[in-house]
Amino acid sequence: MAGKPGSKETSINTASTRRGASNQSVTFREKTDSYFQNHQSVAKDSVQRLWIHPVASLLTLAVIAIALALPSGFYLLLKNAQVVTQNWDGRAQISLFLSDKVDEKQGMELGNTLRKHKDILKTEFISKEQALKEFEDVSGLKNVMSGLSENPLPSVIIVYPKSSEPDFLNILQGQLAKESGVDLAQLDSQWVQRLYSILKLGQRIVGALAIGLVLAVLLVIVNTIGLAIENRKEEIIITKLVGATDSFVRRPFLYTGILYGFGGGMLALFIINGFLIWLNSPVNELAHLYNARFSLSGLGFVNSFGLLIIAALLGLLGAWMAVGRHLREIEPH
């Protein structure tokens, strides 16, 4: 009689129905083999489908690639900027300009005393005469300087603090300014600290940008796969009529999604690396002008691989969302 009421998981009783028909039952091994065969052919098919409309496919890939390349590229620039500032950060120093009343001997003594301060790594005393000589050498204004009746430059003690943490430096600067004989204590690393804050802000902005653009990638894929599903509506209905399960119907679209994600990721890597090559020579020139040895670092293998994986997963997720939305609506009628 009727199936047990409430037993939702009734297995279909095919054994007795196959009576008479010279039927070979499909073994488990054959099933798994053909399962992988199906995956293979579906994967191949989804690649071929991209070639059917190459321009449309390429445009979609380009949109995905740009959306992935933008945050990745900004991330790279930030990373490189951080490398630059880290190099400068270590050189935070406080210049103490001494008053005219302090002579050379007193200045050196003050420098030696300060060296014993717990927060100070070392000090360097530059006398008025040394300062003048250095200034003449660097500026090339020797004749102008020798025309002056007296040396206008003060003696300077350069203090190298043990840390370059902003709060620490500010406190130390305040203490040193109160030392007798010190006219002015100037923190030379202020602009580096500012740059550092700007970079921190930049990181936040890149983070927000990345989230926004990742969502954009997801939406592009959801939309593209949604259109693909609409285009293959007839086929879905027919396969359902001959007994396709949801996972069978879903499979080709998931592969297409992964393909879009992965392809977009590859294209994004090309864009980023092309950008780096384009920037490399002017950056080297700039670094040379500052007498610095610096070259742009790229994404590297791990980050590139990570980008591809994330892109492919985004494709899969987007396809899954699209399929979930459309699949139940498309039923035979």
């Binding site: 196959r18 009576r19 054959e30 027919i238 001959v242």
Partner: protein, 224 residues
């Protein structure tokens, strides 16, 4: 095999397509389903295919109530049924061979068995030489036969046909009926929905007649 128990179907627009229909089709039994257009033939086939669900009563397949099936069970159940559609329902983006192979790919056959079965089915309907063609290039009758090959390729327990001879000349119709009879002889239950009274009169099979959704005649009821 398949049993209708007091089955009624009312569509959401209020139309009563089937009223209190009961019959039992046995394994190996061959039957015609007829009636004027709008009598409920299509609805009856849709209820068997689980495209629609009964509003009242039960449709039972091998002791299992179709109303209890979840989505996965519906898919597995449809693999036991071969259906020939009036509008063929073929895919025009692939060859005849691939169309016929579709149910086997879905059921998970390996390529070796698949090729053998597809060619056997195409041979039965006389289209073996056209396996590499696109169905678009075939005549209406040939497309119909591709649909039949696809319906039988998975050796279904129940074969349904909606106007299977509609596009065929009498000779071809007879050939197709031969194929259906062969299947019924090996235990497949066959139900053919048709307007073609001449065709029905030529054979001595069970006849179910629908009128305004009611089963008004069942020539096989006495035998059960």
């Amino acid at each position: 095999m398949i049993r209708f128990e007091q089955v009624s179907k009312r569509y959401s627009n209020g139309h009563d397509a089937l009223k209190q229909v009961s019959f039992h089709l046995q394994s190996g039994e061959m039957s015609f389903l007829t009636g004027h257009s709008g009598a409920g033939k299509s609805t009856l086939l849709k209820l068997i295919m689980l495209i629609e669900k009964a509003s009242q009563g039960q449709v039972v397949f091998n002791q299992q109530n179709l109303a209890n099936f979840n989505r996965r069970n519906v898919a597995l159940y449809r693999r036991c049924i071969g259906m020939v559609y009036q509008n063929h329902q073929l895919l025009f983006d692939r060859t005849v061979y691939d169309n016929v192979a579709l149910p086997l790919i879905i059921a998970g056959y390996n390529e070796r068995d698949l090729g053998r079965r597809v060619r056997a089915a195409l041979d039965k309907v006389g289209l073996l030489s056209k396996e590499k063609l696109n169905p678009v290039s075939l005549s209406g009758g040939e497309q119909q036969r591709v649909g039949i090959a696809r319906a039988v390729v998975n050796k279904p327990a129940l074969l349904l046909a909606d106007e299977p001879t509609g596009n065929l000349d009498p000779d071809l119709s007879a050939e197709i009926m031969d194929i259906f009879e062969q299947f019924s002889q090996v235990g497949v239950a066959v139900m053919i929905a048709t307007h073609d009274l001449a065709l029905i009169s030529r054979y001595d099979h069970r006849l179910l007649v629908l009128e305004n959704g009611q089963l008004v005649k069942d020539s096989g009821a006495e035998n059960v």
